[in-house]
């Protein structure tokens, strides 16, 4: 409860200051407008934008489009990244090839893929997905490899004596044993996927659907800063929700089971 209260008060004060310097508190006799709404829109303008565009269905629709891209791209990234990471942990040959490739590409911000993606796939969904996958894949691959290589060999030995086949050992011993690493890799992969998609949507206008990032882009083009800030809010909110609703509970469970709990 105390945690929630602290967070809430902090943000309340933050918004209060923001309102104060953008003229929202004029009715209290505080006349302080440091910046024009074209530079920094006031909270009420942003709220108005979010409210109107939620009611007329534009934002929910673009959220749907964006989340679909995000989930598909992220899922593909996991489906390719986890097995490749397992192979890289198992076979030196894979480590020397795909492992090094992953290390290199992980350091490449995924926006850098946008020009190539546009040439290869045109202004299509595929181009967006490609960028998201490039953002997810490598960090998931590397953390899976790292996780598996950190599993104490005694687990596999114990499993073998209990009659575990190599495949069974991989699936039911090595993989769960590396779960703390793999989950933190999945979390990092999620963050990268989200960033990549926003970057891609800002740069790539796709006729097949107007995503949230594209609203940000047109907000800038049309000098509608309340739209830009409103969309930024949504982007932050999605990131926070994913962390609190999906990753935090899983990590909590892991920490409690493994005995590595933090408060």
């Amino acid at each position: 409860m105390k945690n929630i209260a602290q967070t809430f008060i902090f943000f309340f004060l933050l918004v209060l200051i923001w309102a104060g310097i953008t003229g929202d508190l004029d009715f209290l006799g505080i006349h302080c407008t440091l910046w024009s709404p074209y530079v920094l829109p006031s909270p009420s303008l942003v709220a108005q934008y979010l409210w109107d565009n939620t009611l007329n269905g534009k934002l929910p629709l673009s959220m749907l489009i964006t989340l679909r891209r995000l989930l598909i791209g992220y899922a593909i990234g996991l489906i390719i990244g986890v097995p490749l990471g397992m192979l890289a942990a198992r076979f030196r040959m894979m480590r020397n090839t795909v492992g090094v490739l992953g290390l290199g590409f992980q350091g490449l911000p995924s926006v850098c893929w946008v020009p190539l993606a546009c040439i290869w796939f045109g202004q299509t969904e595929a181009a967006l997905l490609f960028v998201v996958i490039m953002g997810t894949l490598w960090s998931v691959l590397l953390s899976t490899e790292n996780g598996i290589r950190n599993v104490p060999p005694i687990y596999a030995r114990a499993a073998r004596t209990m009659g575990s086949s190599p495949i069974h050992t991989l699936l039911f011993v090595t993989l769960p044993a590396s779960a703390p690493f793999v989950v933190s890799g999945m979390k990092q992969g999620w963050a990268f996927a989200w960033r990549s998609l926003m970057a891609a949507e800002i740069y790539v206008s796709v006729i097949s659907g107007f995503g949230i990032g594209q609203y940000l882009h047109y907000g800038r083009e049309l000098q509608r800063m309340h739209q830009v800030v409103g969309v930024m809010f949504i982007i932050i909110l999605v990131g926070l929700l994913a962390d609190k609703l999906i990753f935090s509970p899983v990590e909590m469970w892991l920490h409690r089971r493994w005995g590595t709990a933090r408060d």
Partner: protein, 270 residues
């Protein structure tokens, strides 16, 4: 859960004799070739409790791993009931010095792990069997505890239950109590003898603690290093259950220690 659990699985007492014939095993290390075992032969009766004792580095774990099928000898062979051992098998379960319990499973999940791979049992029966073994090691109140919540002694009890649950013919224990404090160990000496008599297993117990070997074994095999060999055998005919603080036991362990010192001095003169 009581002592008279009903499942037929729990009234099956498989055991096996074991023989090791002229086993030699060397390791290449940076310091050169280490002869971990040189021409070691032993023969162990069905249901016998045998202790391997000796200072560290004399090949006890290596021999245990060969019997477990986790390692292969350079020459010679190990046989269970006359069949050569080539790979790990459920008939020979190992309990390691570190507990090796799986932290992603709770206590009963760990005990179920080996059972799940045992055919001819349904899940309900497996659960009954797992609970029986937890009761046997006095951990039935902790079935749903997480591994990290247990003390060192409790972890080894769970590891023991996990090794017993698939009902192996032979139980291989590699210094299972050496990381525990003396009080905890003493309780476990009593319990392991009790369990051995109830489940009638063949047990090989590795230790570097002479007194522990005299307390537990029907027979104590004394190992010496460089190269790893069995130097002497001691039959222990003291009545059971034995207490580690027993007088006769102290006499015997003195004899074993004296023998060990003798070989050490002989080695130093080489």
């Amino acid at each position: 859960m009581t002592d008279n659990a009903t499942h037929p699985e729990l009234h099956d007492y498989p055991t096996a004799r074991l023989s090791v014939e002229h086993v030699t095993k060397t390791f290449e290390t940076q310091g050169g070739t280490v002869v971990a075992l040189q021409d070691v032969s032993i023969s162990i009766r069905e249901g016998e409790f045998v202790c391997f004792v000796g200072p560290s580095g004399c090949g006890k774990s290596t021999l245990l791993n060969i019997i477990a099928g986790l390692e292969k000898p350079d020459s010679g062979r190990a046989l269970i009931n006359g069949t050569p051992i080539t790979e790990p098998g459920r008939d020979r379960l190992v309990m390691f010095q570190e507990h090796a319990l799986f932290p992603w499973l709770d206590v009963i999940g760990n005990v179920m792990f080996g059972l799940k791979q045992k055919p001819n049992l349904n899940n309900h029966e497996r659960l009954e069997v797992a609970k029986y073994y937890l009761y046997l090691v006095k951990m039935d109140n902790f079935a749903h505890a997480n591994i990290h919540e247990l003390s060192g002694g409790m972890k080894q009890r769970v590891a023991l239950a996990r090794s017993l649950a698939p009902n192996p013919k032979i139980l291989l224990m590699d210094e299972p109590f050496s990381a525990l404090d003396a009080m905890t160990r003493e309780q476990l000496y009593g319990d392991i003898q009790d369990i051995w008599q109830k489940r009638k297993k063949t047990i090989i117990f590795v230790t570097h603690n002479v007194r522990e070997s005299a307390c537990l074994g029907d027979r104590v095999l004394l190992f010496t290093p460089h190269p790893g060999r069995i130097r002497e055998e001691f039959e222990v005919s003291l009545p059971r259950p034995r207490n580690i603080n027993d007088h006769d036991l102290a006499d015997l362990s003195q004899r074993i220690t004296a023998a060990l010192k003798g070989y050490n001095q002989a080695n130093e003169c080489d």
